[in-house]
Each structure stands twice: as C-alpha cells, then as structure tokens.
Symmetry: C2
Subunit: 259 residues, 2 copies
C-alpha cells in the first residue's frame, strides 16, 4: 500500500490529473468513480488505483472484474483525487484513437464539429447528449478544451468510451473531407436563412458549433453548405453552446426516428 | 469612497453575496457586471456600487443612466465581488414578486415546473434557454437551488429580469392550480408512453423537470396528466436536466411557430 504523497506513482497520477501535456505524452487519461472505471473498455484499462477503504468494501467486485488494483491509503487517495468527495477508485486508461475515415464510413453520419469550445462542462454535456441523440462522431478543432480533463470525463457520464471523436489539426480541411463524403454541413448561426427545423436531416448531416462567447469563427462558418438559425423569443442574444447543439441534434433524432 | 473591508456596507454586501437568508430577509439580490446592471429594470435597482477604476472610465454612462453609485476602492471591490475578474460594477436589486395568477393568466401558457433542481448553473441555463424558447413562466419547488445566488444570476444572462417565476411552498398544490387553469401537465419521465414529439403543445403546456441525479419525485411525477419520454440512443441512462428541458421547450416552440 502506498502511504506517502511523495511516492513516485502518486506524483505521476497528480501530473495526469492536472496536466494535459502529461496525459498526451503518456497517451492516457484518468477516470474516477466506480461507474466510470467499471464501464471503461477493459482492454484500455492500464492500471486501477483504489483507496484502502474502497478495497475493503469492494474486493470481490474488483476481483470478478479481473482488476489487480494498487492500493493507496485513504489520505493519499484523497490527495490524488480530482473530486471533493472521492469514491475511492480511479483508473489510468489508454486514450482513444479513432480516425476520420472510421467516423465517416458509417451509414448516414450524424456529426458535430466543435470549433474552439472552451468549457469542460459544456464539452462533457455535449458528448453525453450526443450519444443520446444518436450522433455518430464528434470532431474538434485542436484549440478546443481537452476532452481528457477530469471534469470533462466525469460530465460525459461514460459517453467518452462510446462516442467516436477526433481532434483536427486543421478544422477547415477536416470539414472539406466531411463534405467530400457526401455529408451536408450546417453552421448554427444567428444569420442563418432557414430555421433549423426546415432542413431535411435524413441523409448525412454535420453541425458546426462555435465557441461559448464568440460563436463560430467566420472562416469556419463559411465552410458550411448552409447556415441554419435557432429561432429565439425574448431578448436572448444567443444560446449556451451545449443547448444549441442539443436543439440541433435532437431535431435530427426526431426526423430520423420511425414513429 | 469606501477603502476598508471592515466598513459596515461592505460587510452587508458580502452577506448578500454569500447568504440566501440575508438576501431573502432584505428582499434583494446582487447583480454583477456592466451588462447585468445596465439591463436591470431601473425601478428595482436599490443601489449601485462601482470600483474606483470603473468610475473613472464610465462616469458618463452611469450619470446618463441616472445612477449615483457608491465608490469602493479597487481592492475593496475585488473583496466583495463574486467573480475572479471583477468588472467593477454591481447592483443591489429588489427581488421579483410574481404571482401564480399572473403567470397563469397569459394566453397558451408554456410553463416549466422545476422539482428539487440543485445545480446553480443548470438553473441559470434553464432560465436563459426558457426565454429563448418562449416559456411564459417557471415554477420551482421551495427546495430548488436559490435562483438569486450570484452564479445562477450570472448564468441567466439577464433572463432573470424577464422570465416570470415563483417558488412554491407546496409544489403539488401548485401543479393542481396549473391544471385547473386548463394547462396540460407533462412529466419528463423515462417510463413515458409517448415520445415527447407525439404530443400536441399548441394549447397551455407545462413540463415537470426533476432533480439532476434522481429525476422527478414519484409523488410529483404522479401529478402529471401524462408522462412523455425523450427517446435516447446508446447506453445513456438520462439527460442533464437543462438538456432535457431544452429538448421539450424547443419542441413546443417548434410546434407553435408559424413557418
């Protein structure tokens, strides 16, 4: 059992919690909590850490799952945990490695392209909602929030394991590739001509979603085949990015559903 | 100019930032930032506070608006501010005082009933989104998050000033009153028979939205005329409360919109 916060492994875990660079160099991320660890694709799980108390209570489940966890004293676990009330279990998981080709080869793709999205909670909520709405893949500009940051991972509620996604070094080139695959690309934009529900989303569809404060970059919005707007009442100037994405994704889901 | 953090007014402001009880006893709340102060209904503004630097830069605008602000040294302003990078202006504003009758007397009401919603950010996002979706009023059970807390106020993006709302001591009695006014009440529920988009929302409509983790309380869900479900793909078990509310509100908006 590790009982000291100056242990080398503990230091490494802390780096993986806090530093995007450390995660990317090691090609891993951390998932915390029973559900997030148990739902993880087993072959991606590199290492499981538990607190002493967690081990006492859950030894059997861990064994059944084939996990041989490293045990940390409760104090040390609290020290490496990213949450206020740690559940006592976390895992080091190998990062996902989808390709654009995989994401595009599906039938009737339903894609989100996130451009410079910054809020970790928003990103996580978008992943979770996207899974529910039947989205087939999420593309992100390189300057989006790090999806592997602990807060985002938590707020995906497990969708991180199931939703294909990819960071694009060149988002505009990526959008061109999406279009070349016959997917129609819509920008969610205040100046859209048609309301979002006036379009037909039966065939391959992608939506461009912009930054929380500034919306879509002009040059990115101009890559779209069409702009659509979400009609708004009152004096509201814009919607939260996750909310706007929700409205669009669930309209696709609604149109594609066999009633 | 107030230059000491032990000044009585400064102490009062800090209480109003931090304590729901202090806000309710005084019948006021705080709004921070240029936009939130300038958008406030002028007759509700009790007092405006600015930092010394803000005053220097914006003396004219404040005068034009008829505000006679109390000036705090920059250090003292930072001390009372709830934000990491204070803009330098905040106002003490009289709490809203809508009645259920006012909210129900509108034509074709479109109402949200929030039951035990706990997350300040969720509540604020729901207010902002509700205004955009044409919601006519929001009812909240007494045990919901305090809508007047600074984080919620900020995330409403001004909708707090425009969206009629009311806390209900007895949420079930409140729902009965809503029904007596001819409004059809739907519970968003995983066990709903119909998908949410199979209902007709042209007439008075209310949605019951539950707690983030536990959903609707059974006894509250049972007050509904009908349960509707939001069809979900993948392994998602539930949606974020603000996301679920968004899907429902924008379906009403979509159905009621003249294309």
């Amino acid at each position: 059992m590790i009982t000291s916060t100056s242990n080398q492994r503990v230091k490494e875990l802390l780096q993986l919690q806090k530093k995007s660079k450390a995660r990317n160099q090691a090609g891993v991320f951390l998932a915390e909590g029973t559900r997030m660890v148990m739902e993880a694709p087993q072959k991606r799980v590199r290492k499981v850490y538990v607190s002493e108390s967690y081990m006492k209570k859950h030894e059997k489940e861990l064994e059944e799952k084939g996990f041989v966890p490293e045990i940390l004293s409760d104090t040390v676990f609290d020290y490496v945990s990213d949450t206020k009330t740690p559940q006592g279990i976390l895992a080091v998981i190998r990062q996902m490695d989808y390709t654009l080709e995989e994401i595009l080869k599906q039938k009737s793709p339903h894609i989100l392209v996130l451009d410079n999205l910054q809020d970790p909670g928003n990103a996580g909520t978008i992943f979770r909602t996207a899974e529910a709405a039947g989205v087939t893949g999420i593309l992100m500009s390189r300057d989006c929030v790090d999806i592997y940051n602990p807060k985002t991972i938590r707020s995906t509620m497990g969708a991180i394991y199931r939703m294909p996604f990819l960071y694009l070094d060149d988002v505009m080139a990526g959008i061109e590739t999406v279009k070349e695959h016959g997917v129609r690309v819509y920008a969610a934009h205040l100046d859209g001509k048609n309301a979002y529900d006036q379009e037909d989303y039966q065939k391959g569809t992608a939506f461009l979603i912009g930054n929380e404060g500034n919306g879509l970059r002009k040059e990115v919005a101009e890559c779209a085949d069409a702009w659509v707007r979400i009609p708004m009442s009152g004096q509201v100037e814009s919607l939260n990015a996750a909310v706007a994405a929700t409205v669009l994704m669930f309209e696709v889901s609604r149109q594609r559903r066999v009633q």
